[in-house]
Symmetry: C2
Subunit: 337 residues, 2 copies
């Protein structure tokens, strides 16, 4: 069945069934001009929006519609996590080609609902429209207690820099998807592909990190180097990153080498790992590490420290050699030279 066979309203009806939920926080659900919800009065609202466009952010050959829906939701949830917020309500605007099959559109929504249920959000509305390319625009409204809110601008000199989980897996997974000739040649292929297609936002971890005294915090969407650069710019500090401490995910090394690239670059610049990078005073760093591992099983690794601004952002290798970082990650629009 094609979308043009059932039309916009037919599609909305089917989507409403997939997204149906009862919750006392919903006053007016999907279907009116706007959704109306209640919010807890002692919380701040946390708002984020992200758009994914076919051919720019994803290629249909490398991601299933279910994974695409999940990922579009997950990356927005990750932005709420990065503020130590609790994701509450989601709005989705979706542009689809008339010749897209209804099953395909529904699979996108099913993937979204998987993330929505897992992280206990409520889908409250959005917009469905014709588009020349599949376009997914997600907005999430979250909440955070004022005391737990963490910003980019609060890193202090002497803070340790820590990351959750292991890095580079998403980039390695992407390379596997872009190079089908690799299929079956490497260990950990499945988990690497999943890291790219079905990332896990660190909502619980970010709240624990925040409660236990972290200073600045971000999710790793553009790559560790780029996120540390953001923290340093906003906090007006520098950073010393210990290259040999960066936790590179299993299987990344082999794939990087097969492509003639450095495994460390996957972890530093690959992006889309959606782990959390944060800074904390040395007295708190150990406590956070131990507490997080005990509570969630999530590894936390110290990868450097915050230094004076005039030192810039530098990378230290095992032999103590120091090099300045000057490029930090992917940027849209820029001419590739």
């Amino acid at each position: 069945m094609l979308i043009e066979d059932i039309g916009e309203f037919g599609l909305i009806r089917r989507i409403s069934k997939i997204a149906a939920v009862k919750d006392k926080r919903i006053i007016v659900p999907i279907g009116d001009d706007a959704a109306v919800v209640t919010s807890d009065p002692n919380l701040l609202l946390v708002l984020t929006s992200d758009i994914l466009i076919e051919g720019v952010h994803f290629k249909l050959g490398t991601i299933s519609p279910n994974e695409l829906g999940y990922k579009a939701m997950a990356i927005n949830i990750s932005d709420i996590a990065a503020m130590a917020g609790i994701p509450r309500f989601a709005l989705v605007s979706m542009g689809l080609k008339p010749k897209t099959s209804v099953e395909f559109a529904e699979a996108i929504y099913r993937g979204m609902m998987k993330a929505i249920r897992k992280y206990r959000l409520i889908l409250v509305g959005g917009d469905t429209t014709e588009a020349p390319h599949i376009t997914l625009s997600v907005t999430i409204i979250g909440e955070v207690e004022p005391a737990y809110l963490r910003r980019r601008s609060e890193a202090a000199i002497g803070d340790k820099i820590l990351v959750t989980g292991r890095l580079g897996a998403s980039k390695a997974g992407l390379e596997l998807l872009l190079n089908p000739q690799f299929k079956g040649s490497f260990r950990y292929e499945k988990s690497l592909r999943r890291a790219h297609l079905v990332p896990i936002p660190r909502v619980v971890e970010a709240r624990i990190v925040s409660k236990h005294g972290a200073h600045a915090m971000e999710d790793i969407s553009d790559g560790l180097a780029s996120e540390i650069n953001h923290i340093c710019e906003e906090s007006r500090v520098g950073a010393r990153i210990l290259a040999y401490r960066i936790p590179v995910a299993k299987g990344v090394r082999e794939i990087a080498l097969a492509l003639g690239k450095k495994p460390l670059d996957f972890a530093l610049y690959g992006g889309e790992d959606y782990e959390i990078v944060f800074t904390a005073p040395p007295s708190k760093a150990e406590e956070i590490k131990n507490y997080l591992l005990g509570e969630t099983g999530t590894l936390v690794t110290e990868v450097g420290e915050i230094v004076d601004r005039k030192e810039g952002i530098c990378l230290v290798n095992k032999e103590g050699k120091v090099s300045q970082l000057t490029t930090f990650g992917y940027e849209h629009f820029k001419k590739r030279r």
Copy 2:
């Protein structure tokens, strides 16, 4: 200057300047992973999202970037108005072609800021990305007191149906834009074009209508017939529309006739007028009309009444002839036969 010359972050920096604002409700502004704002605890949140895509919702030859930005914001504000809400915070995701000029992108934002300032919203963030077609996705978070909230589902048999302003102007304006050979041939051309390009959401009017006892309420985005159909479906009632009472905007008649079309069809099916249609018990209808005209100068016209569901939705002409309405307005995706 092209966007590819300054890149995404250069563009965001320029946009941040255009959108800069200080407000005590902003805890974390644009630039972090998510925006954080405070909200009044005694209000419900009203959430709406809309996406506009080049070639589907607009053609660049017929709308300036400034008007496009304004309109994208205005149509979302209108959805908040339709719930009797006060628009508070806006998020914007924008997809732009790398070869788009920076001035063009900035003009879109300036247009948005015009609506944002006029209706006293705060732009708190969003996303900027590469796209094969210009794509604008706007989300607005508004608030409404529980007692003022108006839904589609609350029309009652015996209610009068009323509309603000005059209808059909937006459709006539669109026809003028699509038929440049008409230029200079008609009176009211400028105001008709403006009705299409720079619509005025009825935020103040909708709140007054709601406070004075309206039942169901909607903004007219898809056309009067389509909105009345929505109200009837949700409220499980029928409607009797008095064709000769529908207030057709000045200049619509001449343009419809020049195209061999019925002026009334522009008002019934044209859409994008962003006036408010509402139902109210007869005892309240007159009061609302007089009060709104006195307070805002906005005309309110009674155009029909709510009847039993089994009568369906029918149109009555001056001679008392009754015809059933079966088609109601524009729908995306549907094959045009």
